[in-house]
Assembly symmetry: C2
Homo-oligomer: 146 residues x 2
Amino acid sequence: MQKIGQELIQHGIKPSLIRIKVYDYLKKDKDHPDAEKIFTALRKEIPTLSLTSVYNALKVLTKNKLIREIMIEEDEIRYDGFIEQHAHFKCIKCKKIFDVNLKYKNYLKFDELKKAKILDEHIYFIGICENCLNKEIVEHDRKNKR
Amino acid sequence: MQKIGQELIQHGIKPSLIRIKVYDYLKKDKDHPDAEKIFTALRKEIPTLSLTSVYNALKVLTKNKLIREIMIEEDEIRYDGFIEQHAHFKCIKCKKIFDVNLKYKNYLKFDELKKAKILDEHIYFIGICENCLNKEIVEHDRKNKR
DNA sequence: TTTTACAATTGTAATAATTACAAAATTAAA
DNA sequence: TTTAATTTTGTAATTATTACAATTGTAAAA
Ligand SMILES: [Mn+2]
Ligand SMILES: [Mn+2]
Ligand SMILES: [Zn+2]
Ligand SMILES: [Zn+2]
């Protein structure tokens, strides 16, 4: 908690309670939550919290590169408390976003971009996760009477 | 034109005029336009065209994998008439989206995703393109009286 | 040709996540 | 304490996309 405050300061962010709590929450919730989920969770601790404040905190944290916005489907921004380079997989059934380790990071250098300034990089997959695939099989079997 | 109709049929799409025109437009405009841009361009040929029809056509073409949606910034969907695997670079200054060739496609296989069904894959970079970088330098020099 | 059915197109209204903005509260400085 | 600056809140605005019902177009059936 104290540590998180320090981290914010080091990144040039004034460590207000809300900012600390939002960042702390993102470090704990590995599901890449959206603003609403963070808001709902933190409101239990901070009953006066507003959704706008969550958005404000997320914007500041993003701008100062403590967290990352993840845009996969167009109707929502998800947030990631971990900025180390990695990819994502989003399941269209359960909407979960999973981390995917990037083995060969060096292969993501492109001659075509040599003269451009790259600020951000995103790799993601969309599909159906193992768990939801299994559910589909069960459901299919049930319909066909075993 | 006739050819495009055939292509739609092969993908199970009834080749209406609007669908053909939208697809044809996407094959020609390499800037990854949004629905509005397509609409504005095609309205010159088809004065009765509605924006909804453009969206409808884009949805059908996307579902049947003739085109691709590109979501990079959360406030817009851009469309790509080319579905061969490739990456993108979006310039935050001029908003252009450039194609980036993927050299080592085989490195994008992940053990963690072996049991999942992957339907789609996206790689993109965000930054400032060469052209806009040069403009910035010129602007900077001008301010400092060269 | 006329009728009927179906699909495509249109126009308008609804949706909903995010942002804008101004007022209130909090914190820091003088 | 007084003042200024920043953060938080509540509400309203924004805006790209979607929903939906009415209209139009098409193509087969009678
Ligand atoms: Mn992640
Ligand atoms: Mn492309
Ligand atoms: Zn799933
Ligand atoms: Zn540019």
